[in-house]
């Protein structure tokens, strides 16, 4: 195919139409702007390459060139998305890009030649439809992106150094720390759509306290020396990724406690490290996915899904826990798979349910298990059941 410049631009816009049309409702459904922003970014980068590079250096573009050019555009899109901090999750963003790329290939190899007979010899130009598309598509996209930008929660950047808290976040916003940013005294979140990223929180009653808030994201956060829990959420839905909770004073503290949210969508705790405290990760009456975490040196239970919670506990490592490693209790339903529990300690209290079990189901709970690595067989007590998957 030998594109004219106009043909490249018009074909690019035609190919971007459906991804943008998909991204718009997706953004509405997800309450996130990244699908639209990503679609806009892909289109912008594609158009820039069309004008500045492809048109100059590719007078003829064989079909196979779509693969390396697609990879080039993917690399630039990922880099730009990171630089602009779009907040697009990598997996879904890659899937979106791949789907848009495949669609574009179908369009240029099959769709456009079918609906517009002279498209190939016209160098990708779309005839009378082309100029309209060239004007309407960027205007529509800019309007949507402008709206997105205008209504998007503000981003607050905290400079490196110590910031005295507690911070109270009572409206949607993104708080991003530079390397070396410390908030002393904790953060209280009481609004939906709050994101905390790259922060160290030191001291405070709770490191992060979330109350009656949804779509809260906690990403790359370190909590040190909180007086009670590292992260404590009530009536809330939150996603926690790549966190570290350390220097818990023990006794009655939890690393992460998500409770009283059974009517809300599932919360996620992923890739976190919790050291010390009474319980590492605990849920009461909540829906949770607890995955790929490392919990160490707890005094009551490593991971506990209890009080009628629904929980998936997968691929976690629990080490050096006193009494119980993973606990499913009080009529909860748990799916417990591919976890590794090691170095359990027997509780000296003599309580038979705390005899250093890697996995315990208790009081009417049902635990479905598969692929866990335990030092001794799991145990169930008081009407609870452990069922292999």
């Amino acid at each position: 195919m030998s594109y004219t410049l106009r043909g490249r631009v018009e074909t690019r816009l035609a190919a971007a139409l459906l991804p943008v049309l998909v991204a718009a409702p997706l953004s509405v459904v997800l309450h996130k702007w990244w699908p639209l922003q990503l679609a806009g970014l892909m289109l912008g980068i594609g158009l820039a390459l069309d004008v500045a590079v492809y048109h100059r250096f590719l007078p003829y573009q064989p079909g196979w060139a779509a693969v390396p050019l697609g990879l080039l555009e993917l690399g630039l899109t990922v880099a730009a998305a990171r630089a602009l901090e779009l907040g697009a999750p990598l997996g879904p963003a890659l899937a979106f890009f791949a789907a848009a790329w495949l669609l574009a290939q179908l369009l240029v190899h099959a769709g456009l030649p079918l609906v517009h007979l002279t498209w190939p010899e016209d160098g990708g130009e779309l005839g009378r439809a082309g100029p309209g598309l060239s004007v309407a598509a960027p205007v529509a996209l800019l309007a949507v992106l402008g709206t997105a930008w205008a209504v998007e929660p503000p981003t607050v950047r905290l400079e490196a150094g110590v910031h005295q808290g507690p911070l109270v976040l009572d409206h949607a916003q993104t708080v991003v720390g530079e390397p070396g940013t410390v908030v002393r005294g904790g953060i209280l979140v009481t609004a939906d759509d709050v994101t905390l990223r790259n922060l160290t929180i030191r001291g405070g009653e709770y490191g992060i306290e979330v109350r009656d808030a949804e779509s809260v994201e906690i990403d790359g956060v370190v909590v040190e020396a909180a007086e009670l829990d590292g992260i404590n959420a009530r009536l809330s839905q939150l996603d926690i990724h790549d966190c570290e909770i350390r220097s818990l004073p023990g006794a009655s503290t939890q690393g992460i406690d998500i409770s009283f949210a059974s009517q809300l969508p599932a919360s996620v705790v992923e890739n976190c490290v919790v050291v010390g405290g009474m319980e590492g990760i605990v849920t009461h009456m909540a829906n949770v996915l607890v995955r790929d975490n490392r919990v160490r040196s707890t005094e009551l239970r490593g991971i506990a899904v209890t009080e009628m919670s629904m929980g998936h506990v997968e691929d976690n490592v629990v080490e050096d826990a006193l009494g119980v490693g993973i606990f499913c209790g009080d009529y909860s339903h748990c799916s417990i798979e591919d976890n590794r529990v090691a170095g359990m300690r027997v509780d000296p209290s003599g309580n038979p349910t705390r005899a250093g079990f890697g996995l315990v189901a208790h009081y009417g709970a049902i635990a479905t298990v598969e692929g866990n690595t335990l030092e001794r067989p799991p145990a169930s007590f008081i009407g609870a059941r452990i069922e292999p998957r």
Binding site: W64, A66, H109, L117, G123
Partner: protein
């Protein structure tokens, strides 16, 4: 409904135009195809058979269907349940077999009801008259596409009376010592054919053949490459067309390996004369120029059409400017259309002319 569109020539060029018009919604009764041979591949088939051609030189777009997609690669992939044709196609490496191509022609002929429009008649003259064109006394048509194909086989004058001579595109077997005159695709094919038949081969040529995948560079198949070509002054344009017509055949080991082996064995060599050969195969292609085509020569003479060198000067949409206006169209497809589109003699080129013709027919207010 009266016939309003005439296609002069029932070969592949006419067939492509017919299929394109049918795709635009014209009924068979609205189109008349004039020609000697009801089979659209009737002229092409024996030539391909004569040179033992097994695969098409053209790529995945080299078919007669009105839309580029689905091409033969897609059909082959679906038929064989194999992605290989599609992968080869995106790498510009898919070359359908002659059998696949001929099957496609037969199927399309049936599907488009070609035979309902075919009129067995050789047209000697097309003349502009009131309301359109008189097509050899067979009626007056508003829109006429002339696709008469190549105007006969070319033989070097000095060999014309040589009893050893056979043209590559005529049926023939191979003697023990064969001279192949020419350096294009047909010549290269004949070198390999004769070697495979056990002959000693002498390649007689005046110049070294160019090695390129297609006669015309790929960018010249599209608007971008054509822009430069069409901007060129007439003399330069004719010079470019002559250059595109110089003999060439594709690069690749398929050609080189057997030739190198035969050369080492002393069975293949290059010479400048045919001396000593038992058989002389002239792979010298076709006569070139409108003046070899009686219908076109007459057309130029009757209407004083503009010409340059051996080409009739055409508009970019392959129409004859002096005889085309809002109410009528005279279009040239195939070889005579090269002035507008250098690759007009390829299937892709035939489609380009056909699509422009279709646009004019469909948008004509007096259709």
């Amino acid at each position: 409904m009266p016939e309003r569109v005439a296609i002069v020539g029932s070969g592949l060029g006419g067939f492509v135009a017919y299929a394109t018009l049918r795709h635009a919604g014209l009924e068979p009764g609205e189109i008349a195809i004039f020609g000697d041979e009801p089979d659209p591949a009737g002229a092409w088939r024996p030539r391909a058979a004569a040179i033992r051609q097994r695969r098409m030189r053209s790529e995945s777009d080299g078919h007669c269907a009105p839309t580029s997609f689905p091409g033969l690669a897609a059909y082959e992939a679906a038929r064989r349940r194999d992605l290989a044709p599609l992968l080869l196609s995106v790498c510009d490496r898919y070359r359908p077999t002659v059998d696949v191509f001929l099957h496609h022609v037969a199927r399309l002929r049936e599907r488009t009801l070609w035979d309902e429009s075919f009129v067995p008649a050789r047209i000697e003259r097309v003349a502009a008259v009131e309301g359109g064109f008189d097509v050899g006394g067979r009626g007056v048509f508003r829109h006429v596409l002339v696709a008469t194909g190549h105007p006969g086989l070319a033989l070097p004058a000095e060999l014309a009376r040589d009893p050893r001579v056979v043209h590559a595109y005529e049926p023939h077997e191979y003697a023990e010592r064969v001279a192949v005159v020419g350096a294009g695709m047909a010549a290269a094919t004949e070198w390999l054919n004769a070697l495979e038949a056990g002959a000693e081969v002498v390649s007689v040529r005046r110049r070294e053949p160019a090695r390129r995948p297609l006669n015309v560079a790929r960018p010249l198949f599209g608007k971008r490459g054509l822009a430069g070509f069409r901007r060129a002054p007439r003399g330069r344009r004719a010079e470019l067309l002559r250059r595109f017509g110089e003999p060439s055949y594709p690069p690749g080991r398929t050609w080189d390996t057997p030739l190198e082996r035969a050369e080492r064995e002393g069975r293949f060599r290059v010479a400048t004369a045919v001396n000593g050969a038992e058989q002389v195969i002239c792979a010298t292609g076709f006569r070139r120029g409108y003046h070899h085509d009686p219908l076109l020569a007459q057309l130029v003479e009757d209407h004083g059409l503009e010409t340059e060198d051996r080409w009739i000067v055409l508009a970019d949409d392959s129409t004859v400017p002096a005889l085309t206006d809002g109410a009528r169209t005279l279009s040239l497809a195939g070889v005579p259309g090269q002035w507008a589109y250098p690759a007009a003699d390829t299937l892709v080129g035939m489609k380009v002319a056909a699509r422009r013709f279709r646009q004019r027919v469909v948008s004509c207010p007096t259709r």
